[in-house]
């Protein structure tokens, strides 16, 4: 009996380690190939590690190509999407949870029902609308769909429901108006979920591809994913260069996830309770 338990523990861990290796291999190879000299990654048998690690690919990205520009664009888009969505969604989510106003439930249910509508259905008219507003081929045009989100509102609402009414009423009795209550009392209380929403929005704005691809036409305005997709056409043979570009694109979000994974995972779990 003892031996069987030991054996099954071993098999279990072997399966986990194998799974982890398979999961990490593409990412590890990406990092390794980004340090290879030209041509080294196009050899048979494939090399797992660079013979002599070189930073040349990274240097090329910043000197021959416009990578600094794309990094800046992506950062501007993701940071502004995050900040704007934090303000807008937290106000709405809190109101749906705690402020009594006429039509609250009905409006909220319409929003929830709209979650089943895929984004592509509105994409073509949204493009025409932004064109008429002069926002096509601008950073602002890329940020527009992220400014307010039904899922974000839902997430804040679920969390804000747990704020005790007494806390808010006490402030009201003291004469605080609703805006003061929101900024001074509610924001500190819902801070954990704000971090979750921030990570979610930042990651999805940083990683988004289809919308910036549609809105941006000028190379100097490309975000990293759009730039990478366009470069990968021209530089197919330049494996090392493309891998260095991929590393720089993926690295910020992976670091952000590792630092804030507790907050991120809470968001995924909250998404699942609405089912």
């Amino acid at each position: 009996m003892r031996r069987r338990a030991l054996l099954s523990t071993l098999v279990l861990h072997a399966a986990l380690v194998l799974g982890a290796l398979v999961t990490l291999t593409p990412l590890l190879w990406m990092v390794s190939a980004s340090f290879m000299s030209p041509g080294e990654s196009n050899s048979f048998p494939p090399r797992l590690l660079p013979r002599i690690p070189t930073l040349q690919n990274y240097v090329d990205l910043f000197t021959r190509l416009n990578l600094a520009r794309y990094l800046l664009n992506s950062t501007v888009v993701a940071v502004s999407a995050t900040l704007i969505s934090l303000v807008i969604n937290s106000m709405a989510g809190y109101a749906f949870a705690k402020l009594r106003f006429v039509g609250r439930e009905r409006v909220f249910h319409v929003l929830l029902a709209a979650l089943v509508i895929p984004g592509q259905v509105g994409m073509l008219p949204l493009f025409l609308l932004l064109k008429s507003m002069g926002l096509v081929n601008t950073m602002a045009g890329v940020v527009v769909p992220f400014m307010a989100g039904i899922f974000g509102i839902f997430m804040i609402r679920q969390y804000a429901m747990s704020i005790p009414d007494d806390l808010l009423d006490a402030a009201r009795v003291d004469g605080a108006d609703e805006y003061r209550i929101f900024w001074n009392i509610v924001i500190p209380v819902i801070q954990p979920i704000l971090v979750t929403l921030a990570v979610f929005t930042f990651l999805s704005a940083w990683n988004d591809f289809m919308w910036p691809l549609i809105v941006l036409s000028d190379d100097a305005k490309y975000t990293l994913p759009v730039a990478l997709a366009s470069l990968s056409g021209e530089h197919v043979q330049d494996t090392g260069l493309m891998m260095a570009g991929s590393v720089l694109t993926v690295l910020p979000v992976v670091v952000l996830f590792i630092v804030l994974q507790r907050a991120y995972i809470r968001g995924v779990m909250m998404g699942s309770v609405k089912g």
């Binding site: 990412l27 990406m30 006429v102 895929p118 994409m123 008219p125 400014m147 549609i214 759009v226 993926v250």
Partner: protein, 296 residues
Amino acid sequence: MRGVVESRQNRAGWAFVAPALALIGLFFFVPVLAGLFLSFTDFDIYAIGRPDTARFMGLENYRQVLSNPLFWQALGNTFLFVIVGGPLSVLTSLVAALLVSAKRVRYPGLFRSIFFMPVVTTLVAVAIVWRYLYHPQYGLLNWALGAVGIHPVDWLGDPHWAMFAIILMAVWKNFGYNMLIFIAGLQSIPEDLYEAAHLDGAGGWARFRHVTLPSLAPTFLFVGVMTMLGNFQLFAEPYVMTQGGPLKATTTVVLLMYEEGFRWWRMGMAASLAFVLFVIMLLGTLIQMRLQGERR
């Protein structure tokens, strides 16, 4: 007094939700309704400059979509991704969740984070990485398969394999997400159920079959529907890895919509494609809810 407080809250409440509602209304609900209208017109590149040249066409776009062989091929490819890729991804997530949640595991948090890592990565970047892994001559995958005596496969260049290659990559990218949801589902199963089953003499498999699986039914429904909805919208993977080829074998409905709308600027036609896909997604959701509801 009470009335004053209520009307103040009423005003504040609307003021708090107004920015969000205005933005969602203007940039989501209006475009969705406009999209429906657009799908009944012949809005094209000329109409972008002069919208008054667009004409109302009734159901003509829908008729053309349904009689276009490329649409049916794209729909078939999309279904292949939904029907093969979806269950494969859910199964991988479940296995990973069961392994990570097993009682005797050391460092479950570490394994959970590793399995989740691909989810947060940028799709375009990892799609490019996989394009090199799939390289018929220099790719790691064929080299590894060669080591166990399997002949090289032209993963992305062979129309029979290309969609399966994309499925494999998408499973790798996404399984961590559903794994987390399954882990949460597993944690919510009361321990007494297992103990009762154990006392009744149920072995490991019987406990899994009669306690774990039935308790996870709501999780399965949620994961199944969400995965299906996501998979119907497959776009970036084929755009980056195969451009819809070879021989259109990886052209999906959304990729077709993108090309019709934003490459050829046939926006009326593209809008009708989007709505056809939307209706199929709704039907798919209803079917899953019905099927999974029956089993319970």
